[in-house]
């Protein structure tokens, strides 16, 4: 009997929305970065190859390659030809003078969008606190 066995580890999912105005490669990079920051991957572990991830998401492989390059430039990944992307041990960079500004501006825009779409300020605040707390717990030694 000819069988294909797909032995899966605990599933960590990447979700993108092709209808979003955010470019797909950016969505992929953002999603991967969120998982990397949350500590779901250890240094030395492998991510799916560019082709595999592109096939599974139904996008062009250049799109995934661009996202991987972006993360490699940020120091998250080490890209090796035909071997996929390997997660690197990354030093915590020092925040620059404009880092907080680059963070708070899109955050404010996002909160404004949430409020405009009908979310209550308290639910937004709760969500942000929970997210930050969760990340803090996962990344603390």
């Amino acid at each position: 009997m000819y069988k294909l066995l797909f032995a899966c580890a605990s599933p960590v999912m990447l979700r993108i929305d092709l209808a979003s105005r955010v470019p797909v490669y950016e969505q992929i990079a953002n999603g991967l970065r969120a998982e990397l920051v949350s500590g779901k991957f250890n240094p030395g572990e492998k991510l799916p190859t560019v082709r595999t991830l592109a096939i599974n998401l139904g996008v062009h492989h250049n799109t995934v390659a661009e996202a991987y390059r972006q993360l490699a430039n940020e120091g998250w990944l080490e890209l090796k030809r035909h071997r996929g992307a390997i997660i690197r041990e990354r030093d915590h960079p020092e925040a620059g003078p404009d880092t907080m500004e680059r963070f708070t501006r899109p955050l404010r825009e996002l909160v404004a969008k949430g409020l405009a779409d009908g979310l209550s300020p308290s639910s937004l605040a709760r969500e942000m606190i929970e997210t930050a707390r969760g990340l803090e717990e996962r990344t603390s030694p």
């Binding site: 009997m1 000819y2 069988k3 294909l4 066995l5 797909f6 032995a7 899966c8 580890a9 605990s10 599933p11 960590v12 999912m13 990447l14 979700r15 993108i16 929305d17 092709l18 209808a19 979003s20 991967l32 998982e35 991957f41 572990e45 492998k46 991510l47 799916p48 190859t49 082709r51 595999t52 991830l53 592109a54 096939i55 599974n56 998401l57 139904g58 996008v59 062009h60 492989h61 996929g84």
Partner: protein, 348 residues
């Protein structure tokens, strides 16, 4: 021109006629075997196939299908009677073309009801190991059998030209099927990335892989049988032709019980997407040319689920697809050319 014995003509005609009738039966039930959000290769709202419009379209499709199938059968029988058994292979072709017309007309009636499928895509991030148990040993079996046959001819020195041609065409054909098998493991874009839907999808994929491997063995054994059985025992050498019909019938029943992508294994569940849009097969309708040919240059997947049918189709925008097609088609073309040029001895 040599004429085949009557018994052989009857067996071949009955087998081809059976294939024509089987084809009509498949097309009759096919609209109910696809994924629930797809109807005649168009993404539709959930529940549309069971609504009044859906039922009306299905009724008209089946009436037209019955009409064109009867016409095709009449043409097939008349052709066999007037032109002889050589007209036989035209039967399934006529039936398929006629069935496609009925499908295409039904699809045009569904298109005004089309909706945009979900644009949400998910993928697992942790790379998973794909294991094919006994895979390469099992997959190499047909090639080993061909090698043994070639060795037999070499030792006995009988019909070397015929043996070499058969072995070469068979090898190319088998390589094509083996590439397809590899593609099922590595080049398929899953519709669901988790949950029970994914488990059902994998079960369906495993079944299709087993069918392809079974077809490889069947083709090899049949060809070796035709090579090794002396030509004058034509009736015996034909013994495997009706088996093709039985093999096809078993495959269809097994796949029909699963439904496309395993969708009939359990009642359709609400998709995990947040948009509420139907999932379908997560491809936009515009990429399906005539409803059956997938052409999407922005999709890296080479193998995708068929929208109207059971099994998988190829993404014709990928160069690899054309390589696979060449491998699969070159063997029948060489066989036909060899036959036409009288290179091979006349056999049925």
């Amino acid at each position: 021109m040599t004429h085949q014995p009557l018994e052989i003509q009857v067996i071949v005609a009955a087998t081809i006629g059976g294939i024509v009738i089987l084809n009509a039966a498949i097309l009759w039930f096919m609209p109910r075997l696809t994924r629930p959000d797809l109807y005649f290769a168009v993404t539709v709202p959930p529940g549309f196939p069971n609504g009044p419009d859906g039922k009306s379209i299905l009724g008209r499709y089946r009436k037209e299908l019955m009409l064109v199938s009867v016409l095709a059968l009449v043409v097939f029988v008349a052709g066999i009677t007037l032109l002889g058994i050589s007209f036989g292979p035209a039967g399934p072709l006529i039936q398929t073309a006629a069935g496609f017309i009925a499908f295409y007309r039904a699809r045009n009636r569904v298109l005004p009801h089309a909706v945009q499928p979900t644009m949400i895509r998910e993928a697992e991030l942790q790379p998973y190991t794909r294991i094919i148990p006994g895979g390469w040993i099992a997959a190499s079996g047909p090639f080993v059998l061909l090698g043994l046959c070639a060795g037999y001819f070499w030792i006995h020195g009988s019909s070397p030209a015929r043996g070499i041609i058969y072995a070469l065409t068979m090898n190319v054909s088998l390589i094509g099927l083996t590439v397809l098998l590899y593609g099922l493991a590595h080049w398929v874009r899953p519709v669901y990335s988790g949950g029970p839907e994914r488990a059902r999808e994998l079960q369906f994929r495993r079944t299709v892989a087993a069918v392809i491997l079974g077809a490889e063995y069947y083709i090899t054994i049949q060809s070796l049988w035709l090579l090794l059985v002396p030509p004058h025992q034509g009736l015996i050498s034909l013994g495997l032709f009706p088996l093709a019909l039985i093999f096809a019938l078993v495959v269809i029943v097994v796949l029909a019980r699963l439904g496309q992508g395993g969708s009939r294994l359990a009642p359709p569940q609400k998709s995990a997407t947040t948009s509420g849009a139907p999932v379908g097969d997560r491809t936009a309708d515009r990429y399906w040319k005539l409803g059956v040919f997938y052409f999407n240059p922005d999709d890296s997947a080479i193998v995708v689920e068929k929208r109207f049918g059971l099994g998988y189709s190829l993404n014709f925008a990928r160069p690899t697809t054309w390589g696979i097609m060449a491998l699969l088609l070159i063997a029948p073309l060489v066989a036909v050319l060899a036959r036409v040029t009288q290179f091979l001895p006349k056999r049925v």
